[in-house]
């Protein structure tokens, strides 16, 4: 299967400002990722790019298969798989399917470590021909990330909706953690989880669909440029983006009797590369105990 978008018509060429795919620009949406064609790229003054408006019923072409994005609040990805194509997904995101689509289990490498980290150890695989659709249970946006051969992306766990067979699924340590001590008990916290999913394309292009809560914003960080984000807001990053903890202590002017309220836990992300965040995120867990050890971190006392 080839994920290459339709060849540009003579004299016409349109480069998608979301995924970079080149098409002839005659359709309403990018055939590679579904972003609206000719949409004026929306960028905040700080450089965050809001995910481009994706029209209801936008269609993505993936070789001989296609995917239609349906709905705007909790969008569903409706795949029309050709006989030679397949996708994989976590079983609980399956919305509906036709009888002709065969599903089976796909085992993952490093099952013990994955189970220990609370990551899925089995994925479900679907083979064409036929229609199969996926959605999650939260209002939000679907991100289509076409991966070219040699390209990889690190995704926070549980964001995957579905990926085509050409996408390899591995994982990498976050190396973001801290220990707190309460009496004799030491507790280790992983604000990002222990692992990040790493999706890559080796020989063939593939398509990755993620689902995030709320709105999605992407920012390209220059080499050495860093910002602070809430760990639970991260969706994905390029592997070139480095991460570390940042502890920030506001100037309270007085001593507080609960230590945790004197610190904010941040994730410092440093370029070069892309990062994406979601606007709806869970509070960062912090039990307020003294931090006894942590992964490499920066600190600011105001």
């Amino acid at each position: 299967m080839s994920a290459a978008p339709s060849a540009p018509a003579a004299g016409r060429s349109y480069t998608c400002n979301w995924c970079g795919a080149v098409s002839d620009g005659t359709s309403l949406s990018c055939p590679s990722c579904g972003a609206t064609i000719n949409v004026k790229e929306i960028v905040t003054p700080t450089g965050w790019i809001e995910m481009p408006g994706r029209k209801d019923m936008a269609k993505l072409q993936i070789g001989k298969s296609s995917c239609q994005i349906e709905g705007l609040y909790v969008p569903a990805a409706d795949f029309n798989l050709s006989p030679e194509d397949g996708v994989y997904f976590a079983h609980h995101v399956l919305l509906w399917k036709e009888n002709s689509v065969a599903i089976s289990m796909m085992s993952m490498k490093g099952a013990w470590k994955r189970a220990f980290a609370g990551m899925p150890i089995f994925m479900t695989q679907a083979k064409g021909p036929g229609h199969i659709a996926f959605s999650r249970d939260l209002p939000g946006e679907l991100l289509a990330l076409p991966l070219q051969p040699g390209q990889a992306v690190d995704v926070r766990e549980h964001f995957l909706l579905v990926a085509t067979d050409q996408v390899d699924y591995g994982w990498t340590n976050t190396n973001i953690w801290f220990n707190t001590k309460n009496g004799d008990e030491t507790e280790t916290h992983y604000p990002l989880g222990m692992f990040l999913d790493r999706f890559s394309a080796s020989k063939m292009p593939g398509l990755l669909l993620l689902h995030a809560s709320g709105n999605v914003f992407v920012r390209q960080l220059a080499p050495g440029q860093s910002i602070l984000i809430k760990p639970t807001a991260l969706i994905f990053k390029d592997p070139t983006v480095s991460m570390q903890l940042h502890f920030e202590h506001p100037n309270s002017g007085w001593n507080l009797w609960m230590s945790y309220i004197q610190r904010y836990l941040w994730l410092r992300v440093t370029g070069p590369g892309r990062i994406a965040i979601q606007s709806a995120f869970e509070p960062v867990e912090d039990n307020g105990q003294t931090i006894t050890n942590h992964s490499p971190a920066t600190r600011q006392q105001w």
Binding site: T44, P45, E50, F217, S279, A280
Partner: protein, 277 residues
């Protein structure tokens, strides 16, 4: 030199925002004080509820030396470019991202122990300019931008405020009456925001859609307690029990909040549900 007649015409051609009453240039598409679209009609239901203005993506408005930009429409983000000399306060867990250089401090709050016992935010953080900080909450909803003019008092449901400018006084108001506390669904306290001599900016996050209604003196309505979002301090709030009979199976009761005017009442459509008694 501008002639008096010309000046009068220009004054007439200014646009008044239906939401915050701010006066804008006739060319403005959105209110410079609250971001409400000026090219859309007021959306008011037959029963008198006005929809909070749907802020267009990337709408920008101003307060003092600072600018606020609204980003996204499902769970909108308020990105504040805090100007030199300005400051904004908020509950720290609503910060989405910030420039590393933005200084942070803590607002000194009266009644700290009462607040802890009531489950109210004990620590309120302050971000000072210059620099950028962005805020969002954890569920689908709308930003409600409420520019507060001098001398205003607004009561807000606990944990519903996203941020406020530092020139607004932040306190809390005990909800009176045992029935209000036990059955009102608000807890014991509400946040109270007060302006004295200066105007300020208050931004709330309401779950689902937000509607506002202005009650006349003595006019009252009953609302689901979990839907209450804000009210003018002139609006009284009481609990009214509704008896629900189920014949031979007995019955149950549900509590509703009775709001008595005069003043504004704001509600959210995706409310916290409180089970019947």
């Amino acid at each position: 030199m501008v002639q008096p007649a010309q000046a009068q015409n220009e004054a007439v051609e200014r646009l008044k925002c239906n939401w915050c009453q701010g006066i804008n240039l006739k060319t403005a598409l959105s209110c410079q004080f609250c971001g409400a679209p000026l090219d859309l009609k007021d959306v008011v239901s037959e029963s008198g509820w006005r929809e909070a203005p749907r802020l267009k993506d990337m709408t920008e408005f101003h307060i003092s030396n600072s600018t606020c930009q609204v980003e996204g429409e499902i769970v909108p983000v308020a990105e504040i470019n805090v100007g030199q000399g300005d400051a904004f306060y908020f509950e720290h867990h609503v910060m989405l991202w910030k420039d590393p250089t933005v200084p942070m401090s803590v607002l000194q709050l009266p009644g700290g122990m009462k607040r802890v016992l009531a489950g109210m935010p004990f620590i309120i953080s302050i971000a000072q300019g210059p620099g950028r900080v962005a805020f969002s909450r954890d569920a689908t909803g709308e930003l409600v931008v409420l520019p507060l003019h001098p001398g205003m008092e607004l009561d807000v449901r606990e944990h519903a405020f996203l941020l406020a400018s530092a020139n607004i006084t932040y306190s809390f108001e005990r909800i009176k009456g045992l029935r209000n506390i036990l059955f009102g669904g608000q807890g014991m306290y509400m946040d109270r925001f007060v302006t004295t001599n200066q105007s300020g900016l208050l931004i709330l996050h309401g779950y689902g859609n937000v509607f506002e209604r202005t009650l006349k003196p003595g006019e009252s309505i009953l609302v689901e307690p979990g839907a209450f979002l804000y009210k003018d301090s002139t609006v009284q709030m009481n609990v009214q029990m509704q008896q629900l009979s189920t014949g031979i199976f007995g019955g149950s009761a549900m509590s509703l909040a009775q709001m008595i005017g005069p003043g504004r009442v704001g509600i959210q459509s995706m409310y916290v549900h409180h089970a019947t008694e």
